[in-house]
Amino acid sequence: MFSMLNDLILSLMIFTPLVFGVGLLGIKNVKIARTVAMFGAFLTFLWSLHVWFYFDGSQSGLQFVEAYEWLPALGIKYIVGIDGLSLLLVMLTTFLTILILISQWHVVESRQRYFLSLFMFLETGMLGALLAFDMVFFYLFWEAMLIPMYFIIGIWGSKERIYAANKFFIYTVVGSLFLLVAAILMYIEYHSQFGVYSTSLIDLYKVKIPYPQQIWYFLAFAVAFAIKVPMWPFHTWLPDAHVQAPTAGSVVLAGILLKLGTYGFLRFALPLFPEATEALAPAIMLLGIIGILYGAFTAWVQEDAKKLVAYSSVSHLGFVVLGCVGFYAGAGEMSVEALTGSVYQMINHGISTGALFFLVGMIYERCHTRDLKEFGGLAKVMPWYAVMLIIATLSSVGLPGTGGFVGEFLILLGMFQVYPIVSFAASLGVLFGAVYMLSMVKRILFGNVTKADNEKLADLNGREFLYITPLAVLIFVMGIFPNIFLDKVKVSVEYFAKNYRQYEVSVVENHLDSPDSKLQNTGWSESAKFHGE
């Protein structure tokens, strides 16, 4: 009977948080508000579990597709769908949102309902951007998700929050504006090639843009995504935003928002402009490697734990970027291993860095500082905290048995087949990663307790266990049983890697009725509409 939901499950998933977010604005009582928020997040998670179980891992096409006319005169449709590239990120989004709400459970503040409803709006924005298969809707969600994040940083952040929030917002919007222009040009190009207007990504994949022009289109898209990832040298907003954001904001930012950059790269920039991506792949790899090493070195010298984790994100996402451009020279194929690694590493990074930000937030709540010099010897005082921090760190540095190993190994393996030298340079990043992460762990956990105040720190409480344990467990599950996850995405990723030059998305039937009929262009040509002739 649950299969009845398949026809509208994705819309339900996108808009459930929105409805709850709006409802939350009217609930003054903090206790009721957080229960309602949790109920909304849980419901959304249930929808995503439904998608997970009904998702057919043997299909490379789009599943659970919904398509409705929205602006027929301009060929804009509301299309949502999910495939292997987005499935894991969607799961991560709905899952992390629940953990974040648990981490906020103890806050009793009059403005808490606004905080919770902003998180609900943020979830809608992220899910919408991941699931939208229409350029305009993607852009709507992509931009709309900045607004809640802007307020989360700007209102609940620490001292320099306004500067950080503005920088984050303006940086990202400026990048996206270039994307907007290139997208409109694509759309006009589609019209001139096919005679009808459509913003559906399924249609836009068919547009052939001649090679030299492709470069401009690609750059416009890539800037928007590179800022979001962020790739060096567009990363400067990230440390500010992370350090100033409240813990929950940092977790979402690192866990999901950044992945939308790499996801957008895979979903849009690469298949829409394959030749340009191939031509510019060396430059992208160079930026990726610079990002890996620069992030690692900068993280090494940080005294602020949160800043350290933030720079480690720059470094780790460099790997993900590398995996997205592992082209075999001239073959029209990508390294499947590297791409799989990238898709997997996005999730790993979300989990391990999410956990690290949570853990840094926990000691910040206790000591009101994140300065590494203030800590030392916490392993004796807070043994459970030490266990969790070590687990998250080990995944972050890619120790076998943890999820981080699988992702990084696949990327390095794939890249080695394509560009051994790149793989070598990137593996230096793994090495330095171990250095700075372990030295952070050493400075926080081991040695003698240097400050008298730190003697009395409480270990993890039940609520903290509740949200950190699932992440710790997942780290091992992802490390030991990667196939649980990879089986679902393997076919999509392989199809993508082999066919990115003529990438076409097929629509998988929704178990009930065929969505193909809904997708056919209804013939609203411009002349028919605007001249009435």
């Binding site: 504006l177 006009i188 411009e526």
Partner: protein, 495 residues
């Protein structure tokens, strides 16, 4: 185009009914002002609303007075937009402290004159009626800016507006004279229908100078750079409701007039217009956005933002002035005007509301921490700011999207780039307002607390805010389709 002979019959009276009824209402309110029993604000509001609603609901079509007066879908669009905006603003004023000052016989008379001038403007296809309409509205506005609530700023604004406005009227008149001299007719359709004959002929230079002077007169009223100098002072000095009226109705009226001029130009020579609009658009977007960065008064920020939005509309005009056979640029502009009117009225409505307690001319300091004291007002302003900046999911984004699409269709890449960069710059000053409301603690000396403002104003603002979001997410399709009906009369030369 087939123009019937001048006849003045019942048809004519029914076509000019909206203007007649406004004039009648203005005479009645003047008489009310001197009569003892009927000069209460409520009585004047009654006259005003009856006149406005009668003018709004009654509509008919046709060409009259030898084509000097035209009533078609386009004028119905303009009339509906401007009168609806006026009704909302009049209600805002009625429920504010300005009630006694605005609802005086002579002020209401002037206001109705301004509105009938605008209505005349959007229905004229003849230079004489254009001039009468423009002057009728301008003279009323000059006096209203300084008269309703006299203080140093408003009088300074009124005087600047008056002096510069008079000079621009002189330009306009001289330009009209030259156009008449070269073409021997006052009908806009006939003047611009002749461009191809005059082009590069002996009279071309006269025609061109006439055209430029005529254009200067119009761009002045629309506040396009470099003829925008009066705008910040007049907007800041005028009572807030009147500022909203000037920002929305004046823009609508002039744009529709320019539409007519463009639509009467033969398709092949249409691209003559493009460089003019392109230069104006670039100058206006740059100047509007850059000067807005350094302002501290909220009304001045909004004034410069209004200038910048005129620049975006000029991008649309440049896109409309192409030979390509599409009405989409017109539709995009008509959509933009509706969007801009809704956003402006909403944000000025909140300002009117806040001014109840805080006094006039709020600056950035006064709204520090507004979100804590008054979440609804802050939320409304924030939504409007994001919409002005063109961030989804608001109607501001959709309108910019349509406009940029029209411009890219017409290959106006440089204009779009300037527009995009302008949007990026504008984020800074729009966000500054949001930051001050949400992210700073209250420090302002002035009391901006709830209580004084009327519930009705808040309710109307609430509806407008919902509209801003709804038109940006679920409803833009129907509205855009509707615009295609209104732009139909403009396609006479494009086939």
């Amino acid at each position: 185009m087939n123009i019937p002979l001048p006849t003045i019959g019942s048809e004519f009276y029914s076509a000019v009914f909206p203007i007649l009824v406004l004039c009648l209402a203005s005479i009645i309110s003047l008489l009310q002002g001197v009569s003892k029993g009927f000069r209460s604000p409520a009585a004047l509001l009654f006259t005003l609303l009856v006149g406005l609603i009668a003018a709004l609901v009654y509509q008919t079509g046709g060409y009259f007075l030898g084509g000097a007066y035209i009533s078609d879908m386009l004028s119905i669009y303009g009339k509906s937009l401007m009168i609806s905006a006026s009704i909302v603003l009049v209600l805002f004023v009625y429920f504010s402290t300005l009630r006694e000052k605005f609802f005086r016989g002579e002020v209401v008379t002037l206001f109705l004159m301004v509105l009938s001038g605008f209505l005349m403007l959007i229905s004229s296809t003849d230079l004489i009626s254009v001039f009468v309409g423009l002057e009728l509205s301008s003279i009323g506005l000059y006096s209203l800016v300084g008269y309703i609530n006299p203080n140093q700023r408003s009088q300074e604004g009124a005087l600047k507006y008056f002096i510069l406005g008079s000079i621009s009227a002189a330009f306009l008149l001289y330009g009209m004279g030259l156009l008449y001299f070269t073409t021997g007719t006052l009908g806009i359709d006939q003047i611009f229908g002749q461009i191809s004959q005059i082009y590069n002929g002996p009279n071309w230079l006269y025609f061109l100078s006439g055209l430029i002077m005529f254009g200067i007169g119009l761009t002045f009223k629309m506040a396009l750079a470099p003829f925008h100098m009066w705008t910040p002072d007049a907007y800041e000095g005028a009572p807030t409701a009147l500022t909203a009226f000037m920002a929305t109705a004046a823009k609508t009226a002039i744009i529709l007039l320019i539409f007519r001029v463009i639509s009467f130009t033969p398709a092949l020579t249409l691209e003559t217009w493009q460089p003019f609009f392109s230069v104006l658009a670039i100058a206006t977007i740059v100047i509007g956005n850059i000067f807005a960065l350094v302002q501290t008064s909220i009304k001045r920020i909004l004034a410069y933002s209004s200038i910048a939005h005129s620049g975006y509309l000029a991008i649309g005009l440049a896109a409309a002035a192409t030979t390509s056979n599409t009405a989409f640029p017109y539709d995009a502009i008509l959509f933009y005007l509706i969007a801009y009117t809704i956003m402006s009225i909403a944000v000025f409505g909140v300002l009117i509301w806040l001014e109840e307690d805080a006094g006039i001319n709020l600056n950035l300091m006064d709204i520090h921490g507004l979100a804590k004291k008054h979440p609804f007002a802050a939320l409304s302003i924030a939504v409007c700011m994001l919409s002005f900046a063109g961030i989804p999911p608001t109607v501001g984004f959709m309108s910019k999207f349509f406009l940029f699409k029209a411009a890219l269709d017409a290959h106006l890449y440089s204009l779009v780039i300037v527009g995009i960069l302008g949007s990026a710059v504008s984020l800074y000053y729009y966000l500054r307002i949001v930051v001050n409301m949400y992210m700073r603690d209250p420090t302002g000396q002035r009391e901006t607390s709830p209580g004084g403002g009327s519930k009705i104003t808040a309710f109307v603002v609430g509806i407008l805010v919902v509209l801003i979001i709804a038109l940006g997410t679920v409803l833009p399709g129907p509205l855009l389709n509707k615009m295609a009906d209104y732009s139909k009369p403009l396609m006479i030369n494009k086939g």
